[in-house]
């Protein structure tokens, strides 16, 4: 949405400053992450007893610790073609779910429920994948569609409740996340979903006909689908009538209603589309080939924390589809690099999650970033969320 203060001014005013804030946020997050790494390593901390007598010891140990971790992170994310392929696989669901959350933001809706929408989608996609044998291409299409419908319905319920009863979508989506998780936990105890002979709650493997075909390493069709989804979402928001209505409702629901738009109907449509995109993320987990070329079977933790990661992706991408693709790639790289950091430098993968939270925390508070780096003069109080809450 072209806001007044961003349409005027130089190129720097329009784009450079927000990019600079984002870059600065990443630097600050890496700095805080480095401090946490140093103070939590007893071997490095004990060296600080020599800070005044032999400063090269503590500083050298700190540098060795931090540089080995971050170089492993970097090489694990983009250091080799194989690493890049893994980054795309990690980024694909983040992009899809991030698009869903971002679309909600544009209409002024907080879809905290991408998690539950992805879970329901993963259940349906995986079920079609292992329970309904079909010819090759058709099987994948039907499985993906099943997932999309699941996510759209789960999101649509929230939109319907909000439009009809005024129930706040934040509360409803949080609760729907847990209901979806409960449904998955229950299904994995039933005969229809439990793998025969297994004592662990996991489903049978998805048939090869329903897997996203891989091109190189873990780089698979799902990533291409994610990019297509981003392009379609961009067209929907920026070029279509419904997108115009979504942006109008997000900017000012009363004005939109006065102009003759049905705010309730737009709310429902937005939540359906948002859930659909989050559902696409769920199908990526259910049908995307993992490291061994087969998808991880349906289990309690299959979709991880994609719904919450998606919120950080949408924020970092400032709810624009292009921004979300880059943000998804960045955090996808953090995830795949985090795994390399754990195996190569012995730094736990949870550091990647901490960095992700720190980056978004700084991005969300441009006032803080400009307080630390005054020369940037970050724009103040500019909401990351399109429209009002």
């Amino acid at each position: 949405m072209p806001e007044p203060q961003t349409t005027r001014g130089s190129f720097w005013e329009r784009h450079g400053r927000s990019w600079a804030v984002t870059a600065m946020s990443i630097v600050l997050a890496l700095l805080v992450g480095a401090i946490v790494m140093i103070v939590s390593d007893p071997e490095v901390v004990t060296q600080y007893a020599y800070l005044f007598t032999a400063p090269q010891l503590p500083l050298g140990a700190s540098w060795a610790k931090v540089s080995s971790a971050y170089s492993a992170l970097f090489f694990g994310a983009v250091g080799s073609p194989y690493a890049l392929a893994m980054t795309t696989a990690q980024a694909a669901p983040l992009i899809c779910a991030g698009l869903g959350v971002g679309l909600g933001f544009r209409a002024g809706l907080f879809n905290i429920g991408a998690q539950g929408q992805a879970v329901i989608a993963a259940i349906l996609a995986a079920w079609v994948g292992f329970a309904l044998p079909m010819p090759p291409v058709l099987h994948l299409v039907v499985a993906v569609l099943a997932g999309l419908v699941g996510g759209a319905v789960w999101g649509g319920i929230v939109g319907f409740l909000k439009a009809r009863t005024g129930a706040h979508e934040v509360i409803v989506t949080i609760m729907m996340n847990y209901i979806a998780t409960g449904i998955l936990a229950w299904l994995l105890t039933t005969d229809a979903f439990l793998r025969p002979g297994s004592r662990d709650p996991i489903s049978p493997p998805v048939e090869p006909t329903a897997i996203f075909p891989a091109f190189y390493g873990q780089f698979h069709l799902g990533f291409v689908v994610a990019l297509l989804a981003a392009a379609l979402t961009w067209w929907l928001i920026e070029r279509s009538t419904i997108g115009f209505a979504i942006r109008a409702v997000g900017a000012n629901p009363r004005a939109a209603a006065t102009a003759g738009m049905s705010v309730g109907r737009i709310t429902i449509v937005t939540m359906v589309l948002s859930g659909l995109l989050a559902g696409l993320a769920g199908t990526q987990f259910a049908l995307g080939p993992g490291g061994q070329g087969v998808p991880t079977p349906l289990s309690a933790g299959l979709v991880g924390t994609v719904g919450f990661d998606a919120i950080t992706v949408a924020l970092l991408g400032r709810s624009s589809p292009i921004g979300i693709v880059f943000a998804g790639l960045l955090f996808g790289g953090l995830h795949s690099g985090g795994l390399a950091m754990q195996s190569m430098a012995g730094t736990p993968v949870t550091m990647a999650m901490l960095l992700q939270a720190l980056i978004v925390l700084f991005v969300a508070a441009p006032g803080l970033v400009s307080a630390i780096t005054p020369y940037l003069r970050a724009p103040k109080n500019k909401s990351l969320v399109g429209g009002q809450a």
């Binding site: 939590s40 934040v170 949080i174 209901i179 409960g182 936990a185 919450f308 969300a364 508070a365 969320v385």
Partner: protein
């Protein structure tokens, strides 16, 4: 506020509002539907259900009551339907409706348990059910109080989960290092307050959207505790993750009461603190000048500012005080139960506390009662799972969340928060 005033002055309440009518009819319909379900279930119920009133190790052994399952479920179904009809029938005095709600609620629970346990080899442990409820409800009550304070001041707190997590971690580590549960408890409170300060600085000073901020703080807490656990605590778990536990404190005299004594008067300090905190927060919010100012800042900050109340100052104080309660609640997960921290040990309890807060309509006493109800359901699920009942425990565990969705959708009384909840204040 106006709806509360209307309910307190019956002479003004001549016309039933549309919302109230819808809430009354939906509640009645829900009760009748539940009664009908129980009646259908009763036709498939055979055998007897045993209720053991005392645990195996209680000093005073009470008898095990055995009831014929089928007739009991039918009786409960009739009671539930009757109480539903009271709601549907029309406008009765508030007392009659409350009585019907209580009778209906107890009959639903009793009928459901009788059906679920019928034919089981083992009796249903009643004292175990109540003891477990109290244990599970303790952190929920404290977390909900944190939310009550924050949100009445106008700061949405989705970060209770993160506050719990950091406090639980801190309590485990400090308890292990010092060997003192008192030090651990104080450290947990400090951790909760610091996380509250993080919420406050970003939401009040930097005006970050509060819902988004809460989600990010939860991720931050999970990442920070997860990283420190992997890097520091797990390799040295003997030194850093073996905290002593809070000992139960028996209140002399009262703890000797059969049945209720061991449940209510032989608990850890956290339980007593939780009970006192509910009374304290209600008094603070509704009986003191400070509480009036907090609520005014949450309802209409511009008005409060005009009469000279510092909006940001009040919000800071409320969020920090709330953080102390969340810290106590977080301590429960480690030093109040097993002592050791594991990653993401709080498993969504912060969100159940949030649900209790909303179901309790932002009031400390009602929020605490809802927290107890959610604790009851969770404990029931785990008891029924161990008894091997026909009802999948996973579905029962969804009940708090489902109830919250129904509540915020306004089917059984609209749940509405303070007017300026989540709205940043810019002078």
């Amino acid at each position: 506020m106006s709806t509360v005033a209307a309910a307190r002055t019956p002479e003004l309440d001549v016309h039933e509002s549309r919302d109230a009518r819808r809430a009354r009819l939906s509640a009645g319909a829900l009760l009748v539907a539940l009664g009908a379900i129980l009646a259908i279930l009763s036709t498939r119920t055979a055998g007897a259900t045993a209720y053991a009133l005392s645990g195996y190790f209680d000093a005073v052994q009470l008898p095990t009551v055995t009831v014929p399952a089928g007739p009991t479920v039918i009786a409960c179904a009739v009671l539930v339907i009757a109480s539903g009809i009271v709601f549907l029938a029309g406008r009765l005095p508030a007392g009659a409706r409350t009585a019907a709600a209580v009778v209906g609620g107890i009959a639903v629970v009793l009928g459901f348990i009788t059906w679920a346990v019928a034919g089981s080899q083992l009796p249903f442990q009643v004292s175990n059910q109540f003891a477990g409820t109290i244990a599970l409800a303790t952190p929920l009550v404290l977390g909900a109080l944190c939310g009550v304070l924050c949100e009445n001041a106008g700061v949405v707190n989705v970060a209770i989960e993160g506050q719990f997590l950091v406090a639980a971690f801190t309590a485990a580590v400090v308890g292990s290092v010092t060997g003192s549960t008192t030090a651990a408890l104080f450290a947990a409170v400090l951790a909760g307050v610091l996380m509250g300060a993080m919420l406050a600085v970003f939401s009040i000073k930097y005006l970050v959207d509060q819902v988004v901020l809460g989600v990010v703080i939860n991720l931050f807490a999970s990442g920070l505790t997860g990283f420190l656990f992997d890097q520091l605590v797990q390799p040295n778990s003997g030194d850093l993750n073996s905290s002593p536990l809070l000992e139960p404190i028996a209140i002399p005299g009262l703890s000797a009461i059969p049945f209720l004594g061991p449940i209510l008067f032989n608990q850890t300090i956290l339980f007593y603190l939780a009970v006192l905190s509910v009374a304290f927060v209600s008094w603070l919010l509704y009986r003191t000048r400070w509480g009036l100012r907090v609520r005014s800042v949450g309802e209409h900050p511009e008005a409060a500012d005009t009469v000279g109340v510092s909006v940001r100052g009040m919000r800071w104080q409320a969020v920090l005080l709330g953080g102390a309660f969340a810290g106590l609640g977080g301590a429960f997960f480690t030093i109040g139960s097993t002592g050791a921290f594991i990653k993401d040990i709080t498993v969504g309890n912060g969100f159940i506390a949030l649900a209790a807060l909303i179901m309790g309509r932002w009031n400390p006493v009602r929020a605490a009662l809802m927290a107890v109800f959610f604790g009851f359901v969770t404990q029931l699920a785990s008891q029924l799972q161990s008894l091997g009942t026909p009802m999948p425990s996973q579905l029962l565990l969804m009940l708090p969340y489902l109830a919250t969705v129904i509540a915020v959708a306004g089917l059984i009384g609209r749940s509405r928060g303070p007017a300026a909840d989540g709205v940043p204040f810019v002078k």
